[in-house]
Amino acid sequence: MSVKFVKAAALALTGVLSFSASAVMAQEAKSLDELLNYVKQGQVTEAKENRAREAKFSKDKANQAAALKRAEAERARQEQLSAELEAKFEENQLLIAAKQEQLQERLGTLTELFGHLTSAAGDLSSNLEVSLASAQYPGREVFLKDLIDKMSSSDQLPSIEEIERVWFELMREIRETGVVTKFDAEVASPAGERAPREVLRVGAFNLVDTDGNYLSYDSGSLSELPRQPSGPYTGWAADLANATGGLNSFGIDPTGPTGGSFLAAIIDTPTLEERWHQGGYVGYAITAVGIFAFLLAIWRMIVLTAVGAKVNSQLKSDKANDNNPLGRVLKIHEDNPTMDTETLELKLSEGVLKETPKLESGLTLLKIIAAVAPLMGLLGTVTGMIITFQAITIFGAGDPKAMAGGISGALITTVLGLLVAIPTVLLHTVVNGRAQRIIHILDEQTTGMIAEHTEANLRS
């Protein structure tokens, strides 16, 4: 004990020393003599203080001994109390064991029943967490979780109200999966803004809003699907959401509790426009060629129909009219009525030869386009395949999805090529038929007409 005191005193002394030294330094001695004087004074005051402290410590020593005695007495008392409490604890534990045994005995078959109740509540809780009906009735699983916690603790039993509420929740879930209802809920848009909307729930299958947008439900929050299924599906949804009665057709996806894989597949299916873009540059080129061929065919059709009508009216009239090919050929005879037959035949075939290219113009181009369009499609498909297989050499064939997507896109150009070729072939046939009819008339019938004409003139 005394050693400790000495140590403490030494520590205190060093503290005082260092303090006074810095105080001396702070006074800023003007000369060495003055400094010496300061040091001397300091020594004198420190020695005085130390003596006073020593006297104080020796006086305290008697007090400290008395305090130690008091503390020892207190410890003895506490130890006795501890022994007493320990004995009581043992006694109580025996009592608890006996009581628990009694509880088990009294519960009997009820234990099994509560086990079933716990597992049923657990199943229901996990079902409710993913059920779309929870979007309408939030917080149902909180009660079930509390109930399960209560039942798994050893000292509490469920009340009859709680057991009946489990029953009620089960019945409500069964009922809600079979109805189509509307309710208001907060929905997050794809941009992330939350706003209240009127939501339509179709059983436990789909959630749509009144505009026909499909919603997804995930861990308590509703959000609009960023990409909606195309075509009739959203229309059906809107019709159903705005219907007041009667029967409405609506597609549900039974493959999953929330949306499901079929809906996902429908959403992932590219639209017609996206498919067209999959064709890439070759696809655009084919489309351009197709539009050109279509316009060319229409233009030739209009021109040839007009020429055909004029030729028909020329066939009925006696006078050669030079607004049509037949009239221009007949005019050769009309201008030189005295020409001998051999020269006339030569001149006529010359005139026909002059008219034919005008009638047939553009037809060869149409035929070439009809032949080239499928080849262009094939080109696009092959280049698409090359790109796909290059991707396989880099990334490996581990992912059939990526490969299948590439091939599916590559085949689009073949479809485009065929879609251009088939109508072009048909149009070419029709337009060519019109051209050939006029050419046949020019080529094989003009001489006959002239002959008929001269015969008629001779007779009259």
Binding site: S408, V415, V430, G448, E455
Partner: protein, 172 residues
């Protein structure tokens, strides 16, 4: 009868939209073919009799004029005989092309399903395979039926043309 329509509609559904195109094409093709048969059975006899009567009614059939008029008559009749034959021929050629179109769209469907499901689901791909194979078969059958009819009609047209040419004799 109702069952038959149902079976037919089921078949069309399996084959996809291209099958309807092939059906429309087939309908147009056979309409034109029947029109030709009808003409050769009904109208042609009268027409050829008229042409021959007109030719026989001429005072002389030896001059240059007579020869040119004969040419013209034959040409006009040929135009009657050969009407729609090129269109029929084209339609026959288009049938397999449409079948090919169906095949390619079906294959796109197959690969698309593969891209979504990862290729594990053979059942869902079977739908696309059906779409790919049925139009090809339908196109082939349509083309085959058309080929026979087209050949037959073309042969009739050729024979009747020659018959007319033989009957417009230059001298008796």
């Amino acid at each position: 009868m109702g069952d038959l329509i149902e079976v037919l509609l089921g078949f069309m559904d399996k084959g996809g939209d291209v099958l309807w195109l092939i059906a429309a094409l087939l309908f147009v093709m056979w309409t034109l073919i029947f029109e030709r048969f009808w003409y050769f059975q009904m109208g042609w006899k009268k027409d050829v009799a008229q042409v021959i009567a007109k030719w026989e009614g001429r005072p002389e059939r030896k001059s240059w004029e007579a020869f040119q008029i004969r040419q013209m008559m034959i040409s006009q009749s040929r135009m009657q005989i050969n009407r729609n034959l090129p269109v029929i021929k084209t339609l026959v050629a288009l049938c397999p092309l449409l079948g090919l179109l169906g095949t390619v769209t079906g294959m796109i469907e197959v690969f698309n399903i593969m891209a979504v499901t990862g290729g594990g689901d053979a059942k869902s791909m079977a739908g696309g395979v059906q779409q790919a194979t049925i139009p090809t078969m339908a196109g082939m059958v349509a083309a085959l039926s058309g080929v026979f009819a087209n050949t037959y009609v073309t042969r009739i047209a050729q024979r009747e043309g020659e018959f007319l040419q033989d009957n417009l004799t230059t001298d008796h």
